[in-house]
């Protein structure tokens, strides 16, 4: 797939603060792309640079090969759904959706047809005559979506589109958004600080940290193969076991932490300090002492149990003092959950379970 949007060495400063720092990124045609990061990481600025609301201090933004420098927002074939929705309070729902089409001077009947089509798309048929302040939060969100899609933009920009919805609605809307993007074959770029949201909707995710890209990849890549401690920690829950790489073999490395000997599969790192990043759900927990000393394992005692319904998180202080989290699906009902606080347990994991991180 060809790159539709290209950021080339793009830099944006606000006074002494560098929001986006010489960042280079390609967004492909028809993909659902997520810009994920904590607040202040520059993700919204990047989106606004693409929409044209900010001018870069360095670098270029290209859309389908065309340099967007000097093209004002109202001439860019991209549309944005604003975090605040920014619906026009003096217009009806239909008036809001038609706003962009009127600017293009489309004939009246064509505008009306497109408005109906857009409202049907977001399941708001029949709401056209309502005033914006007569709608619920979820309905407003959909009006904003319909308005930003009405002009059939080459790229739809979504700035924290679900942030204002309550949790249940937000989770449902994620899937709707994904289905919509698949149906419309439009390139969507979403900005979010919510990793679950990014993972659910996006084909690829760019993780941003302090104005730079930390990692770009599919949800599976950034979750299972994070390239730094920061990415591993930001996306999902992780145990970081600080250790030293002692030997590098073609398909695995060995690590050492005090008396603990660890083996991790297939990671290209040099000997020296590193962290083994281990997702809680990849750690097994049990009372029984393994028959033979496992390669990757540790004994410890349970300090805390968090019950989340679908799974439980066990916090275990292993004998060298480090606290590890192990997540276990609650496949059985409560009778079978036999591990209690202060129990002495064994943790173990496969060599493929973790990733060795030098950064």
């Amino acid at each position: 797939m060809a790159a539709l949007v290209t950021f080339e060495q793009i830099t944006k400063r606000f006074g002494a603060f560098t929001a986006v720092d010489a960042l280079t990124l390609e967004i492909r045609e028809r993909e659902f792309f997520a810009l994920l990061g904590p607040s202040g990481c520059g993700k919204t600025t990047l989106l606004r640079l693409l929409a044209g609301f900010e001018k870069p201090d360095g670098g270029r933004v290209l859309l389908a090969g065309q340099d967007l420098a000097g093209v004002p927002p109202y001439r860019r074939p991209v549309n944005m759904m604003f975090q605040s929705y920014a619906l026009f309070p003096h217009l009806t729902v239909a008036g809001n959706v038609a706003f962009g089409l009127r600017q293009d001077g489309l004939p009246k009947d064509e505008i009306a047809a497109r408005v109906d089509e857009m409202l049907a798309l977001v399941q708001l048929s029949g709401f056209g005559a309502r005033k914006v302040d007569q709608l619920s939060g979820g309905q407003r969100q959909r009006v904003a979506l319909a308005r930003s899609l009405a002009k059939r933009p080459k790229v739809l920009l979504l700035d924290e589109p679900l942030a204002a919805l309550d949790r249940k609605l937000r989770e449902e809307t994620r899937f709707e958004l994904k289905a919509l993007q698949t149906r419309l074959h439009t390139t969507f770029v979403i900005v979010t600080h919510d990793q679950d949201e990014a993972m659910t909707v996006a084909d690829r995710i760019a993780l941003m940290h302090q104005g730079r890209l930390a990692q770009v990849g599919t949800p599976v890549e950034v979750y299972e193969r994070p390239n730094s401690r920061w990415v591993a920690g930001f996306v999902g829950d992780v145990n970081l076991i600080e250790a030293r790489v002692t030997a590098v073999y073609p398909s695995f490395v060995t690590l050492e932490r005090g008396t603990m000997r660890l083996r991790a599969a297939g990671t290209a790192v040099a000997p020296g300090p590193a962290a083994l990043a281990l997702r809680p759900e990849k750690i097994r927990i049990g009372h029984a002492v393994p028959e033979r000393e496992p390669e990757n394992g540790a004994a410890g005692s349970v300090t805390d149990i968090g019950y989340f319904g679908t799974l439980s998180i066990y916090k275990v202080r292993i004998d060298d003092g480090l606290v590890l989290k192990a997540a276990v699906m609650n496949e059985q009902r409560d009778a079978a959950r036999a591990i209690h606080v202060n129990d002495r347990v064994w943790l173990s994991w496969a060599p493929e379970a973790g990733v060795v991180l030098a950064d």
Partner: protein
Amino acid sequence: MEQERHWLTRLAILAPYAWLVAFFLAPFLIVAKISLSQTAIAQPPYLPVFDPAAGWEGLKEFLAAFSLDSYAAVFGDSLYLWSYLKSLAVATLSTLILLVLGYPVAYALARAPRRLQGALVLLVVLPFWTSFLIRVYAWINILQHDGLLNQALLALRILDAPVSWLATDSAVYIGIVYSYFPFMVLPLYAALEKMDEALLEAASDLGCPPWRAFLSVTVPLSLPGILAGSLLCFIPIMGEFVIPDLLGSSSTAMIGQTLWLEFFGNRDWPVASALAIVLLVLLLTPLLIYRQREASVLEGRG
């Protein structure tokens, strides 16, 4: 306790009504009554005068003496009609000038950095710290033949010879626009300041160049401010007396001046009162239209 609070609550509700009755309704009724009386060389200078001592018969006699002669005079004499029209023309044009000048100022205030806005708004209302009368007198000084305005225009070579400003309509407009400026700017500022700037970005994003975004988003959203500011200026300008009297010529009498003349010059209180009542009715009309609009906007929200 409960009883006492109930009583206090009632009193609190009554207080504003009592105020309105004492200081608005009662004076209005007195003026209305005088407008239905006849002039007389007496103290007070009109008839009839209600005498409570005369009892029921006295009241009947009193009511029978009411006449519409003053209104006939007001509507019969073109002098009054011209005064009303003059006031209407001055108030309309001044309000338009105020809107055109005030809108950019209010817009700039609303878009100024937050920390400066308080200070800038203070600057707009700062003239109120000086007496209104003194400020109008100051304009006489500025506008007179060898005043600041002529000096400045001559120095800038815009004029070859001094122009007579005083006692012209221009002077009246200058004085009115100057005096009422804050009354136009403040409601506009209040309306514009509330506006979410993301709306302009949204308009731009949807293909609206800035000037069209201004017309299709900013102006409609500031309409309440435009209406409020225009009414706050238009209504008092209609009845304006001091500014045209001090800066204008006697040939350009506005209704306020005519009223003053009838009252103090001719001591014809009934005609002066009739003029005031007609003016009030004229002014209530735009206010009622405004109220109607407000109500329909509120209904639309409900």
